[in-house]
């Protein structure tokens, strides 16, 4: 599963670029579908905590590089959220279609709440009520929808690179 760690860089790099260019087009109010979050979450659910944390770290750092927030901020929050999710839920089979949307919804809400706190600490806070209503809520909705195809696609990738037992 070492391949999974190396795959994280190109996949997440492309994801972050798409997240900052294409995803703003899919917007409800000020909320937009979070492709990066759903990909990292999917991988965390499929491959477990260790790989999920690595993907969260890499994805978060790349996101910070492109969004101008202090480097490591998003990474820190993503790492914490992915660790918490994997601790609570554990690994999920790729055929499971119920749990990923539920986790995506709850995870997005927690992710945003922690981000709001972190941004407030860094002096870039925004009104909590407005942000939850206009950003977090639509993002939760969009992520719940987005996780379905993303989890499916990541499941195929996970299956493709997973080491298999061979009989000698």
């Amino acid at each position: 599963m070492v391949l999974g760690r190396y795959l994280s860089l190109p996949i997440l790099l492309i994801t972050v670029i798409l997240q900052t260019t294409v995803m703003p087009e899919f917007q409800i109010r000020s909320g937009r579908a979070d492709l990066l979050f759903t990909i990292i979450l999917s991988w965390t659910l499929l491959a477990g905590a260790e790989q999920g944390i690595v993907w969260a770290l890499v994805g978060g750092v790349l996101q910070d590089l492109l969004t101008g927030v202090p480097l490591g901020t998003s990474a820190l929050v993503l790492v914490v959220v992915m660790f918490a999710i994997s601790s609570l839920v554990g690994q999920v089979g790729r055929s499971n279609i119920l749990l990923p949307p539920l986790v995506a919804g709850a995870g997005t809400a927690i992710y945003h709440l922690i981000l709001l706190v972190v941004y407030a600490v860094l002096g870039r806070g925004s009104p909590i009520g407005y942000s939850l209503l206009n950003v977090t809520l639509p993002t939760v909705l969009l992520n719940v929808i987005l996780i379905l195809p993303i989890f499916r696609a990541m499941g195929v990738l996970f299956e493709a690179i997973r080491p298999r037992r061979v009989s000698l």
Binding site: L13, V16, I17, L18, T20, T21, V22, E25, G48, A49, E50, I53, V54, A56, L57, G60, V61, L62, D64, L65, L66, P70, L71, G72, T73, A75, L76, V79, V80, F83, S86, S87
Partner: protein, 289 residues
């Protein structure tokens, strides 16, 4: 157990890295590294963003097709209405300009003492054989036969028929019209007759019976002479464009161009305090048969 401790170790290391990155980033030490990574990624971002925007615009245009169609119809209706309004306002402005020009003419010191009635042209000769116009003023407004009709550009003609509400004006360009005139600079006298060589109604006239000894220069202004008592003296008729000997070789004649476009007359002024002289008393009596 091993998996759980591994997970914790990875988590701890990741946290450490994150906090370290935040600290280094806040201190500005990571600036060069950040630039190194950001620049190529930004280029890719820019390219993808451009493509995305184009696709998005196309999709939006397609999605908004129906509303755009409705909006287009609304705008077309609005445009038609505005165009009609513009036409109306242009007409008002044109009328205003004409009235201002006529008012300026009326207030000129040369015209002091003259009384005018403004009249709107309401009809023209439709056959093209006559050069007449009909105006919307009549005896009720003080108009009478023989009164001169002018605009700020010069003499138009004289009233030949009048009713209580309207009047017919025979234009100076009518073939039957003649006006005793004078060249303003050389003071040479002659007679302006309608129906020029070209025969159009645009404003071509002929000044005839100009004595041979007179020197006529082009662009000389022709005015009414007042001789004969049909018109007050000093009304502008037009400008000389060319001159030559007439057919009899006894006189000169000149082509005169009026500044008035008689096909586009809309508002005119009737000089109401001018009464043409009745010269019939001087006519040679016809012997009884």
């Amino acid at each position: 157990m091993r998996s759980g401790s591994n997970r914790l170790i990875v988590f701890g290391v990741a946290l450490f890295i994150c906090i370290g990155l935040i600290a280094l980033s806040a201190s500005g030490l990571l600036g060069p590294v950040q630039n190194l990574v950001t620049i190529p990624v930004s280029l890719a971002q820019r390219a993808i963003s451009g493509i995305t925007r184009q696709i998005s615009n196309t999709v939006n245009t397609l999605a908004n097709f129906q509303s755009l169609q409705a909006q287009n119809e609304q705008l077309e209706h609005a445009l038609v209405s505005f165009q009609a309004e513009i036409v109306e306002l242009r007409e008002v402005k044109a009328d205003y300009d004409r009235v201002v020009a006529l008012l300026n003419y009326k207030n000129k010191s040369d015209n002091a003492g003259r009384q005018y009635v403004a009249a709107t042209v309401i009809g023209r000769d439709t056959t093209g054989l006559l050069r007449n116009i009909t105006v919307d003023r009549g005896t009720r407004d003080g108009l009478a036969i023989g009164m001169p009709v002018v605009t700020e550009l010069g003499l138009v003609g004289r009233i030949t028929t009048v009713t209580s509400l309207s009047a017919q004006v025979t234009l100076v360009i009518d073939p039957s019209s003649y006006v005793n005139s004078r060249l303003q600079k050389s003071r040479a006298e002659g007679r302006i007759v309608g129906g020029s060589v070209s025969g159009t109604a645009s404003g071509d006239l002929r000044m005839t019976f100009i004595p041979l000894k007179e020197t006529i220069s082009d662009d000389e202004v022709v005015v009414t002479s007042g001789i004969g008592g049909n018109f007050p003296r000093g009304l502008t008729i037009g400008q000389v464009t060319s001159s030559r000997l007439d057919d009899s070789k006894l006189f000169q004649e000149a082509e005169v161009r009026s500044l008035i476009d008689f096909n586009r007359l809309e508002i005119v002024l009737v000089i109401t305090n001018f009464e043409p002289l009745d010269t019939s008393a001087f006519a040679t009596p016809v012997p009884a048969q």
